[in-house]
């Protein structure tokens, strides 16, 4: 009896929580067709370094929308910030691919009318409707910046840098290997297996059945004794390459550039199996209180100048192809350094992070979800 009452109370509380914010916002299913006057305010959840003064201040001046930012520590953090208390506290989030689908399916973010973001026409084709922010032809935000996860090697230790991910599973390199401490790393193993063990039938490294996940876990468990360190922060890996005895590892262009600047002879290799990568998206909360300012932000942040500024500041690649020229004018050679001038097929070859979900897209809901991946990762690390 008591239990039933508690449930009733929870349901009542839930309904009340949903009803209260909905009362203030007039929201229809139809997409906005024009952007109205700014509300004077914009609240963002972002990665640190994504809302620097050099590109936020001109936006505030031009639109009158004052930007306040809450930095998130992890993708899970972002998800919680956007959903806790029914959402609505923040207008937008710069979600990475491992969180974006979760946000979409949880109803935390809403569809965006891309016609109102004219600069998106200048995006590389691969980022106009990528699968981690576009579902069933509906866009849930504008692509922002991306980067590949490369194989980083020290040329002093490897006269000829390896061209395969197999090098990080090779017992010859025992004690020299550094791997990111992130469950999404399982996708790297799955990508390698999709090329080396076609019998497993892995098509998408983020859509793994139980058997396919087990195979990836097995490969990673064999790798564990070879690993020097599972790094949590980019600076950890930089330290390890500088003086920690690591000479090979899975990495980001950021570390390659930082180490090169410190005169450590490293190269970032795109192995023949291809690479995974991350793609961040500015997504609009389904209960955004300042939608007009949010659209103005999406319009602004997609244009070449802020794209270039952020790319150089953070060491990533802009999705707007016109940003390349601006990058070179800001810092000579930076466009090539951050791969802003590659071919469309290169961008297409990167398997961008997306949230593992049970729905594999094959009609069967037999894929392993993020929690299964996380549990597996705990097991892999031991």
């Amino acid at each position: 009896m008591k239990r039933v009452r508690l449930v009733h109370m929870l349901v009542a509380a839930g309904v009340a929580a949903l009803a209260v914010p909905a009362a203030g916002v007039t929201k229809s299913d139809a997409l906005p067709t024009s952007v109205g006057k700014g509300e004077g305010k914009l609240t963002l959840v972002a990665w640190e370094g994504y809302t620097e003064k050099q590109w936020v201040a001109p936006f505030e001046k031009a639109t009158g929308c004052n930007v306040t930012t809450k930095y998130a520590g992890s993708s899970n953090d972002m998800f919680n910030l956007m959903t806790s208390g029914g959402g609505g506290q923040y207008d937008m989030v710069s979600a990475s691919g491992d969180a974006s689908l979760r946000l979409i399916y949880a109803g935390a973010v809403q569809e965006v009318n891309m016609k109102l973001v004219p600069a998106s026409k200048d995006f590389f084709k691969a980022f106009q409707s990528p699968p981690n922010n576009t579902v069933g032809g509906k866009h849930y935000g504008v692509s922002l910046q991306f980067g590949p996860n490369v194989l980083m090697v020290n040329k002093k230790a490897f006269k000829k840098p390896p061209t395969t991910w197999g090098a990080i599973y090779d017992p010859k390199n025992k004690g020299k290997i550094t791997i990111p401490d992130n469950p999404i790393q399982i996708a790297d193993a799955a990508l390698y297996l999709s090329k080396t063990k076609p019998s497993l039938g892995i098509k998408d490294p983020y859509e793994l059945t139980k058997a396919q996940l087990d195979a990836a876990v097995q490969l990673l468990e064999q790798q564990r004794p070879l690993v020097k360190k599972y790094w949590a922060l980019a600076s950890d890996q930089i330290d390890l390459f500088k003086n920690g005895g690591s000479t090979i590892g899975a990495s980001w262009p950021y570390q390659v550039n930082t180490l090169r600047a410190a005169k450590v002879p490293v190269v970032g290799v795109i192995p023949k199996e291809g690479v995974t990568g991350w793609l961040d998206t500015w997504m609009l909360s389904s209960k955004a209180k300042h939608p007009n300012c949010a659209y103005k932000w999406m319009q602004y942040i997609s244009t070449p100048k802020p794209q270039a500024q952020q790319a150089i500041y953070f060491g990533e690649t802009p999705v707007n192809k016109k940003a390349c020229k601006v990058m070179d004018s800001l810092s000579k050679g930076s466009c090539a350094q951050y791969s802003g001038n590659k071919t469309e097929s290169y961008y297409r070859s990167i398997k961008f992070w997306k949230t593992p979900i049970t729905d594999c897209g094959n009609g069967q809901k037999n894929c392993m979800d993020l929690r299964a991946w996380t549990d597996a990762w705990t097991k892999i690390k031991g």
């Binding site: 992890s74 979760r102 469950p183 949590a232 003086n243 993020l370």
Partner: protein
């Protein structure tokens, strides 16, 4: 003795209600005491006990694996899951490292504290005590990071080993490194209670032991050590429990296969968004500490706290 408000007003007519309360409590001093401590007790119940109860209740719930929303239905699944690979290994490893750190701290702290309490001059003692607690003024993170620099292959330790003509060590990012770092970080927490226990030991006991014909070693074994046990036990509570709950050192100086209980709790909160499982797992160190404290109580650890 409790102060009674009625004392000052004795003989005066006073106002009705206040007077009645005063008369009532005059005969019941315990009630007054209760009234005086009720605020801290309430704070304790609300902050500590309520948090623990909330943790316990959470651990019997479950959460949606996709959205991470807590589902309020009662289940023992979280506890059943703990029995599965790799969690027993992680628990065993944590307890083993906590025990190893505790024993190492004891072995190092006892002679050091003995020197401080019995041999060192007053000035030297103060200087050494300050030096012992000085690291506590520096951020925990800085101290752990500095060990990384020391242990790295071309770090300070290998430089010294080479100078001495010894081969390189290679313990950076291993469980050995964790053991070393924990021992260093928790060392002051062992020294202080042991020092307090040894300082209280009257010198006449040692003299009496000598008068009865005991040699130095026998006195140490049969007089000093037994009297230092409460201090050692109190120190071990700190070193043991602090190691049991830590997740930063394993992630900074640990390597593959260095996950501790704290790591699992942190990852379930921060990555998997599985609050109930994290809560269930957090009850493990709680249970271990309960057993440990019961054991230490028998050794008289709480007398010197």
């Amino acid at each position: 003795m409790a102060v009674d408000p009625a004392v000052g007003t004795e003989g005066s007519p006073g106002t009705g209600a206040l007077r009645a309360v005063a008369r009532f409590t005059w005969r019941r001093p315990r009630l007054v005491t209760l009234g005086q401590v009720s605020a801290p007790v309430a704070a304790f119940l609300l902050v500590y006990v309520a948090a623990l109860v909330a943790l316990l209740i959470q651990s019997f719930w479950t959460s949606d694996s996709f959205t991470g929303k807590v589902i309020h239905s009662w289940t023992l699944d979280n506890f059943a899951e703990i029995a599965n690979d790799p969690y027993p290994t992680i628990i065993r490893r944590t307890v083993f490292i906590a025990a190893a750190v505790t024993v190492t701290c004891m072995l190092l702290a006892f002679p050091y504290a003995y020197f401080l309490a019995r041999i060192a001059s007053r000035r030297l003692r103060i200087a050494l005590l300050v030096a012992t607690v000085l690291p506590l003024w520096v951020s925990y993170l800085v101290r752990v990071y500095s060990w990384r620099l020391i242990l790295n292959p071309d770090g300070a330790l290998n430089w010294w080993l080479n100078k001495l003509g010894l081969p390189d060590q290679n313990i950076a990012y291993t469980n050995w490194a964790m053991w070393l770092v924990f021992t260093y970080i928790w060392f002051p927490f062992m020294v202080l209670p042991v020092y307090a226990a040894l300082e209280r030991l009257p010198y006449s006991y040692v003299e009496a032991s000598a008068d009865l014909g005991a040699k130095g070693w026998t006195t140490l074994r049969r007089v000093i050590l037994p009297l230092a046990v409460p201090g050692l036990a109190a120190g071990s509570i700190f070193t043991f429990s602090l190691t049991l709950g830590d997740y930063i050192a394993p992630s900074l100086v640990g390597g593959p296969g260095s996950s501790l209980i704290g790591t699992v709790v942190f990852e379930n909160l921060g990555l998997a968004n599985n609050l109930p499982f994290a809560a269930a797992f957090a009850t493990i160190p709680l249970a271990i500490m309960a057993v440990y404290l019961a054991l230490m109580k028998r050794l008289g650890a709480f007398e010197s706290l």
